[in-house]
Point group: C2
Chain length 601, copies 2
Amino acid sequence: MSETLLSSRNLAFELYEVLDAEALTQRPRFADHNRETFDAAISTARGIAEELFAPHNRKSDEHEPQYVDGAAVLIPEVEPALRAFHEAGFLNATRDFEHGGMQLPNLLSQACFAHFQSANIATSSYSMLTMGVANLIEAFGNQEQKDRYLQPIIDGRFFGTMALTEPHAGSSLSDIRTKAEPHADGSYRIKGNKIFISGGDQPISENIVHMVLAKLPDAPPGVKGISLLLVPKFHVNDDGSLGARNDVTLAGLFHKMGWRGTTSTALNFGDNGECVGYLVGKPHAGLSYMFQMMNEARIGVGMGAIMLGYAGYLYSLDYARNRPQGRQPDGKDPSSPQISIVEHADVRRMLLTQKAYVEGAFDLGLYAARLFDDTHTLETAEQRQQALELLDLLTPIVKSWPSEFCLKANELAIQILGGHGYTREYPVEQYYRDNRLNPIHEGTHGIQSLDLLGRKVSQNGGAALKQLLKLINDCCQRASEHESLTALRQPLEQLLARLQAVTLALLGDLMSGKINQALANSALYLKVFGHMVIGWRWLEQAIRAEQGLARTDNAEEQAFYRGKLQAARYFLTWEVPSCHHDLAILEARDDTCLGMQDTWF
Amino acid sequence: MSETLLSSRNLAFELYEVLDAEALTQRPRFADHNRETFDAAISTARGIAEELFAPHNRKSDEHEPQYVDGAAVLIPEVEPALRAFHEAGFLNATRDFEHGGMQLPNLLSQACFAHFQSANIATSSYSMLTMGVANLIEAFGNQEQKDRYLQPIIDGRFFGTMALTEPHAGSSLSDIRTKAEPHADGSYRIKGNKIFISGGDQPISENIVHMVLAKLPDAPPGVKGISLLLVPKFHVNDDGSLGARNDVTLAGLFHKMGWRGTTSTALNFGDNGECVGYLVGKPHAGLSYMFQMMNEARIGVGMGAIMLGYAGYLYSLDYARNRPQGRQPDGKDPSSPQISIVEHADVRRMLLTQKAYVEGAFDLGLYAARLFDDTHTLETAEQRQQALELLDLLTPIVKSWPSEFCLKANELAIQILGGHGYTREYPVEQYYRDNRLNPIHEGTHGIQSLDLLGRKVSQNGGAALKQLLKLINDCCQRASEHESLTALRQPLEQLLARLQAVTLALLGDLMSGKINQALANSALYLKVFGHMVIGWRWLEQAIRAEQGLARTDNAEEQAFYRGKLQAARYFLTWEVPSCHHDLAILEARDDTCLGMQDTWF
């Protein structure tokens, strides 16, 4: 049977030929690991994902969570899947050995987790959120919070959520109204309503730890007045046993287009004035803490979008190989047998586009994961800081590019299956519905574009941007040693030069106060920047493919590398040059959209 | 309340300022009509659509048809809606007065029907299919078939279907296996299985008339051996009363991602060897007959895609005007009130894009409808033939362009609503799911691109293409009288010139036998051709808007025309120039996709 979650060969290519995962084992933190322990973890992940996650993916879509007597009811398959996930160690894959973890690099943890996302994005989400909460408490919680809440999370008994959005405050977090009033015992009383809280209720874990954004009475206005509160669903006694229910009410469930297996909840905090919460870290510093979680979440969202794209790509590829239909345009003899649709040029276009989007984004996602390892395992503080800056710069791309283009991949997967692809009898329509959430949650596309152009590219004097440009230039330099890659390298170099100039010009506008004008077409900037980054990652893959080709006589291996080169060619010669039109609009400071008036619609 | 189905002002602009619907009343066939009768029909359509179609649009999605005891069961709201539709005359809007029709121009019939498609695409589909079957029998059936089957359809008692697809033959119709064996009484015995038959069963009409493609025993191979058979669900006695059930079995229902209210059925013909059918027209000529229906259906599909886009555009516009969120980038004082999101440049971009796609396609759809009127009401046979050729050429664009770009509009509508847009508590996600069918049914996108480049542009020595190019050049000529339109006209002229050259080159390749190479990138050709056509229609609208502006001092009217000009500017300066990159690929006969090998994926 063909692989359904991701291509093992491609994953090995990424880990051992492109991203040099083995080099990580030279670092003290990962000294106990080697390629065998890495591969064992991956193999375990694949097994659990195939056996316990994939089989109920459709069922959890068809039988979405129900609101019954104030609680969310899920299909029974979710709990054993998450239990197996935890028992195999994946919830704590990156955590220290001494804290019950596998002390794996984040790169490997993401590679393992990718299997679960591909198999069942909805069930895997409960774990992703819980891992984020664990990291947040570990980084910013006090010892008591760690003992009381983090340890049960590590033990797999408590799950977590992030509670940001309110009915009138989504993208604009500065407008949240949830209040946290100090109480004599040092705790707080929380009052407010949150919506779209993923995993806000479920019957699986003993307890749920909500990380809630709220405002203290003396909060300054805006984002500088947001605090982070830990609010448990059930109180936890000093001996670790569960106490009474906290005053957190499940007000209802949202009914989503896809991603249905993950509860999306409306939560009321303090309907009876008795909702107890605990301040995490310092007052008014909540947003910066939450951004650590959000940045993890944004990379997680990107990886989720990639894996939904990947699952659709593999399914439609298998279908195209096995579905006979029609004949070549130049051979229309109706008595000849029909050919597999993979033979049709337009079907190949749709498959190659998917491959270019999905494998290009997959490479970037894993690159970001490895960068995350660098942020805390490189030798010097300066190196670690540099890695952090680069990761910060790339985060809006890792989040938004796959959300847009791997969704497009899913659209193409449906198209390849034709009428069948449109029915719920086949899985590709669900991938498409599931993936449509990704350009929205954890910061919409528009927010990502403002984050990139309005903040990230100029941060620290543009230090991260300079780093990135140097990396891309280095890659082009290495590519220039392969004459066969000339046609792939040049479009990237041209894009790079022009984007650099546009960036300087836009930053100049921002500094001279033309803020609205400079940011008006930030969506185009985001697209072009993303294409530059993915183009770079494809050129890097093409170099490794050339090196691989030079090494092997094996036909299957050669075909693998040829495919990489063809997908790189597709992306760099079909997709990358399309950005020049967007750049012209950016260069002209075109005000077509900015100048449109409400009354003209 | 804002309008929800379509903008009446925009419809009036199309009918009376762009397409000069009143001029049609000069033609003998429409002499009894005038603007008042046109507007009365539209007003009636809007009323029924709002009162009887829109209210159950969500319900028919949530409660899709069920298969019970061999029959399809629908929600009860569908029947009265379709009855009202028929009783108001819309089923026979274009039919002769003497045959119970309103003898309206097709332009007006489509304008009326657009309201039903916007309100409820699924319920309106039953009527669209039935109208197509009626036209098919009227054109090619014999008198007995007309008396026995057409009249009850006109009377609203029978519905119709088109039964083409088989499990192994979708895009490749030449491979159908359904057999029609001649019987002593002149009828045929049908045996075969059909899938994806829309409206193949429903409990609303007394009888269903299936138009079935099948092969006679002496059929030559391929598409030249396909015959058209009329197969009723129930036999019809000589006195018009219903007889026994024919041997047509509902084998099951497909469960679609969207468009759920229309049954999609698997039908078995002749499981018991007793399925009676009647040959329509001549043997082996069925495909050409069916293409008349398919061409109507393809325009209908295009209009459906447009109206789903339109409904989403209007909903997201209304939402954007009423949803406060955030502040301008240059005014981030958190104590200032939030602004409506329509004020954000990126939201304006998403609204303006929708407007450009939806209103551009709407203009083209109605233009095609008017052309259909020309095919049978222009004075000379030559004029009518010319109109037919132009309509033939435009049909793949009318079908495919809205299917792709109005779907994209729906994607943007969701994005504007953010998290809410992703929930089934709001209607935009359903429009998106419904619209995803349109690039698939009635000939996939790939099939349309082959039809356009491999057949339509070269037909009759390229006569239709020459006509179209002349029309576009005329439009550019008239636009050049408005200096304000220079920046809009030039991109179209540049595209036109380059597309013309590419077309000649590709046709040259086709004639010299490089067929697979010439057609390999037909999807890009289809996109560029479509953008040229829509760009032309926007330039035409811009001319009319300039004329309107010169006439009026009314602020609301001025805003309407300004909006038209801004949408034209968006499409012609943001979208049209993006095609040059596609043209470069076509010019180079790029073989990236054609050259990709199965084993390389």
